[in-house]
Amino acid sequence: MNIHDLFLISPGLSVIIIGLVALILDLATKNKNVLVWTTLGLLLVPLGLGALQLQMISTGYILDISSSSGLLEGKYNVDVFSVSLQMLIVFAAAITVMISGNYLTDGYKTKGEYYTLMLFSAAGMMTLVSASELILLYVGLELTGLPIALLLALTLTKSATSGALKFLVVSALSSAVMLYGMAFLFGFTGTTIIPEMSRSIMSEGSVVTLYSNTILLVAVSLIIIGIGFKLSAVPFHMWVPDVYESGSAPIVGFLSVASKAAAFALLLRIIYQVFGDIYVNWPLLISIIAAASMIVGNIMAMVQTNIKRMLGFSTIAHAGYLLIGVAAIAIVQNDSSFRLGVDGGASVLFYLATYAFANLTIFAGISVVGSRVGGDNISDYKALIRKSPQMAIMMSFALIALIGIPPTGIFVSKFYIFSAAMENELTWLVIVGVINSVISAYYYVRLIKVMFETDNTDSDDNKMDAPGLTLAAMYITTAGTIWLGVSPSWYIAILEQGISLLSGVN
């Protein structure tokens, strides 16, 4: 390992160092603000390093570990795909730090650990999006999950610990399943390095035998099932509402955005680098999971009375929309085999970013209302427009975004995902998606209605003073939602470049 390698892994490394700094700082100072502002300031470092790496990639300075001999050779990718996702994860972590400040005032006995664990998890996700080797990948996966389980349990209330335990058990199960799938892949190809697997499969499977296909088929389905847990897709979704309900709002927001991004990144990497050469009908499986996720997520969200539970089901539905894009990666050829396209993957990445902005806005609002009112029922949001007009307006805007109405980013994302699916003849899936968008409007708009519902009795209701840092976070994410809604092209261009570099297809 030399300086060059250190630079390549510097964003993830610096996040871990920041986590450690937070831990030490917590011991050194009792002032919570110092901790928050220091962490926040330091998080600009990985963002800056990521931006620098993107800049260097675009100027042709290829940051490929395989070009350097060392510990990480061929195992860790620094390309447009992984760096852009790493930046998204750091961004989500920074927003979470901003909205956590007020949430930690009571209930949490610990503070430093909170930031440390959250940043360790972020580092795990960053490893996950960059790793192209199975063992490193698995390390990233566990580093992502375990701190989250601890964070969920951090308040030590009964419901929190039970939620955390559920998360831990289901997480362990899915890891085991995925590990089993990886073992099959390794057994068949004899390598743990993902790009080399594809070469190995090509040489072995030049004549597709029944035997080879069955092995690969088992591997594919086990991996999809394992990732399905992280994606919170049906039928691996049942932990989501329970965990969302019992967890603290900032952590749940982080989980719904960053963890989802990392899981989709993993799925995309495996699909683009391995599945493309396997003669297995994985698009069908993904389509079915997508449809089931949308339907179950939206229908269940309609009957919820707890806002976090509702958003838990909403995130399941959004995993469904995202999986439409994944299914659309496969372009069916005339001989019913398929090749891989760029649009599907780029649309998923774009959706992840826009979904992150909108969802973080809502969870920021929830963290304030939840800590002020002391409850997460939808009825607690009544007349929010009177109590805190800024929050009510920004949350409504984010909800409108989640429906997918212009000029918000998710409108463009849905448009992009649906059009990618239409081009790949997944018309039925698009119809299911559009119908589900309409259904989802019901419960999103209902929440907006509640927030704007004022009767004269509570005209002298106490104002709800949102902390400045949380409001700032909401302004940033709202601006992001609008920005990607009106000016998506430049970002889509970057993502398309990232996907085509990842897959070698144009």
Binding site: S162, L165, K166, V169, V170, L173, S174, V177, V208, L210, N213, T214, L217, V218, V220, S221, L222, I224, I225, G228, F229, V234, P235, F236, M238, W239, P241, D242, Y279, V280, N281, W282, L284, L285, I288, I289, V296, I299, M300, M302, V303, S336, V412, F415, Y416, S419, V486, S487, P488, S489, I492
Partner: protein, 660 residues
């Protein structure tokens, strides 16, 4: 000229809108007087830029297409971008819009003085003006469509400005719904265009949503598709320009404040339909069917609307029917291929009709009524208004040398030339347009006569000091009217003189309009024909003569001359019963009774049943699924495993070579 400068023409009034609506109205309600000044300042910036753009386009060809940025890329041949396209047509219309809007805003300062919604009025006007400017400079048809809807929205807000009046609210709703019916056609046209992009070869290198590209698109489509798309666009244009059968909203729209009628419902927004057709003229004209329909609709509406104008007693409604009729002349001209004269008439009409409306507002300011039966003899009290109204009326009739004469004459000339070597259709078109001239002259003079001549018949004399309480309007209203009066006199001859006059080249505006690159075979103005000029003047004088005859004889117009023709009078007085057809027969009887009954039946037994069932089902599915959601983690892992097994089975069954 940089693209930022071009956008400034749109951004300046938009900034006024933002400042007035978000800062002045909520926080400085004591200082409402500042609102019009903000808007006038914004429009002054627009005026400077639009003059620069016009001159730039006139002398150097102009900036043409400037892309601001790409919004959504549907495919390589269908890209939604935001941009400006400044060509002769748009730079000219832009100038007209800005000038008329600026003058109307100045007038509004006097007219709306003391209104409780003073700031709201100017905020909405600012929104309208910026949307209208955006519409004119748009380079992308989707962008244009967005502004098209925004002007519709501002029109809705302005018609219903006096929200406390039920009639205004109803009129706003009517305008919104009827124009929306037309807009659905426009939207379908756009969707067909997008659909066509998938059929284009990669090498075509066009963007089917880019307006200059659309103009050259007809060759790549089947004639059928061209007709469908052009008819869709036409339906949007007909709705906006209030052409038969969508015309019924415009007379009702007169419920809005009079300056709104002047700006939105005569000079600019209703002319957007004509603008759209000219903007896409090469594409529209590729379909013979569509062109025939445009010409037919135009000629028919020209006469049809004019007849209704003969008998209404509301001065603004006379002008509304007149607007419909004059817009119909422009439609007819486009249908005959003469887009240059259509734009020319659009310009002159914008000036003289805005002036007519402002005059009627001035009359209303004095008498507090729009009913001409309660006016009369006003010329004694309001000399300026009378003089300006007379000039603009004579221009509307089309008497030389006023601007209306030159533009209407060019349309008549185009129709005449078509007729000379045309069939029955062209002869009918010309005959209808000729009849329209006579009718126009008649209702115009009837309006002048009832309002300004004879004796004052009103009883609303305000403070009880007799007729002397009726007074001329304040200078802030008269001054913009006078400026429009100057434009009304000069705009025709100076822009399209029939011969070279000193430095002014003959037909320069027409040649300029036709020089836009999208019109591959520029339309050259027909040479001025003395015969046609005399003919159309004589026709106007005939109508004028009849009106003078009748309204001198029948004392003060107490009895309408047409009332003796009972059947016909009843027919036109009731607007050909079209409102009744639409509202009573189609909406109430057919839609509500028949169709709605069926729908109600279906709704009650099928939809409600289904809804109840679905609600029941969703709730219970929710509950049943909720049972699964029992918080039991062992169960969750069981479901995951089961799901895994099912997934594996699906893969086994549907992977080729194995099971499927």
């Amino acid at each position: 000229m940089s693209s930022l400068t071009i956008w400034l023409v749109f951004l300046a009034p938009l900034t006024s809108f933002v400042i007035i609506s978000l800062i002045v109205r909520p926080f400085f309600s004591k200082h409402q007087w500042i609102s019009p000044y903000l808007l006038i300042a914004g429009l002054s910036v627009s005026l400077v830029v639009s003059v620069m753009l016009f001159l730039d386009t006139l002398y150097t060809g102009g900036p043409g297409y400037n892309s601001a940025y790409q919004w959504i890329k549907i495919n390589d041949a269908a890209i939604i971008d935001l941009g400006t396209y400044i060509d002769p047509v748009s730079s000219t219309i832009l100038l007209v819009v800005v000038v008329v809007s600026l003058l109307v805003q100045i007038y509004s300062m006097g007219y709306m003085h003391g209104d409780i919604g003073y700031s709201r009025y100017f905020a909405t006007m600012a929104l309208f003006t910026s949307s209208m400017i955006g519409l004119v400079i748009s380079s992308n048809i989707v962008q244009l469509y967005a502004f098209w809807e925004l002007v519709g929205l501002s029109s809705y807000l302005l018609i219903g400005f006096w929200t406390e009046r039920p009639a205004a609210a109803a009129a706003a709703k009517k305008a919104f719904i009827i124009t929306r019916i037309g807009d659905v056609g426009f939207l379908i046209g756009i969707l067909f265009l997008i659909n066509h992009s998938f059929a284009l070869p990669l090498s075509a290198n066009v963007n089917v949503l880019h307006i200059p590209d659309i103009c050259s698109l007809a060759g790549t489509m089947s004639a059928m598709i061209v007709t469908i798309i052009t008819l869709g666009i036409l339906s949007g244009a007909m709705g906006k320009s209030a052409q038969f059968p969508f015309h019924t909203w415009l007379p009702d729209a007169m419920e809005g404040p009079t300056p709104v009628s002047a700006l939105v419902h005569s000079a600019t927004m209703v002319a957007a339909g004509v603008f759209l057709l000219v903007r896409l003229f090469p594409f529209i004209s590729a379909s013979d069917t569509t062109m025939l329909i445009i010409a037919g609709v135009g000629a028919f509406t020209a006469v049809f609307a004019a007849t209704m104008g003969l008998v209404v007693n509301d001065i603004k409604r006379v002008l509304a029917y007149s607007s419909i009729s004059q817009l119909a002349y422009m439609f007819a001209a486009i249908g005959l291929g003469a887009f240059g004269p259509a734009i020319f008439h659009l310009i002159t009409h914008a000036f003289f009709k805005a002036l007519l409306f402002l005059c009627s507002g001035s009359v209303n300011h004095a008498t507090h009524t729009f009913d001409m039966r309660e006016m009369g003899g006003l010329r004694k009290y309001m000399p300026w208004t009378y003089g300006l109204m007379l000039v603009s009326s004579l221009s509307l009739i089309g008497l030389p040398p006023l601007s209306g004469f030159w533009s209407k004459d060019e349309i008549m000339l185009s129709a005449w030339e078509k007729m000379l070597h045309g069939s029955v259709f062209e002869i009918t078109i010309f005959a209808l347009l000729a009849i329209g001239v006579v009718l126009t002259a008649f209702y115009t003079w009837r309006m002048i006569s009832l309002t300004f001549h004879g004796e004052y018949r009103g009883n609303d004399v305000g403070d009880g000091h007799g007729d002397h309480s009726i007074h001329e309007s304040p200078r802030v209203m008269i001054a913009p009217m006078a400026l429009l009066g100057v434009a009304t006199v000069l705009a025709g001859f100076l822009t399209n003189p029939p011969v070279n006059v000193g430095p002014i080249h003959k037909h320069w505006l027409n040649d300029f309009i036709s020089s836009s690159i999208v019109f591959h075979h520029g339309h050259h103005a027909a040479e001025f024909s003395v015969l046609v000029a005399i003919l159309s003047t004589v026709l106007g004088l005939i109508g004028l003569g009849i009106a003078v005859y009748y309204y001198k004889l029948s004392q003060n117009g107490k009895k309408e001359p047409l009332e003796s023709m009972k059947g016909f009078y009843g027919l036109i007085y009731n607007k050909y019963y079209l409102d009744d057809l639409y509202e009573n027969i189609i909406v109430r009887n057919i839609l509500q009774k028949r169709i709605v009954n069926i729908i109600a039946f279906v709704d009650k037994y099928v939809v409600d049943g289904l809804g109840l069932f679905l609600g029941f089902a969703v709730k219970n599915v929710g509950h049943v699924l909720g049972l699964f959601q029992n918080g039991n983690v062992q169960f969750y892992t069981f479901v995951i495993s089961l799901g895994g097994v099912i997934g594996l089975i699906i893969l086994l069954m549907y992977t080729p070579g194995l099971g499927g």
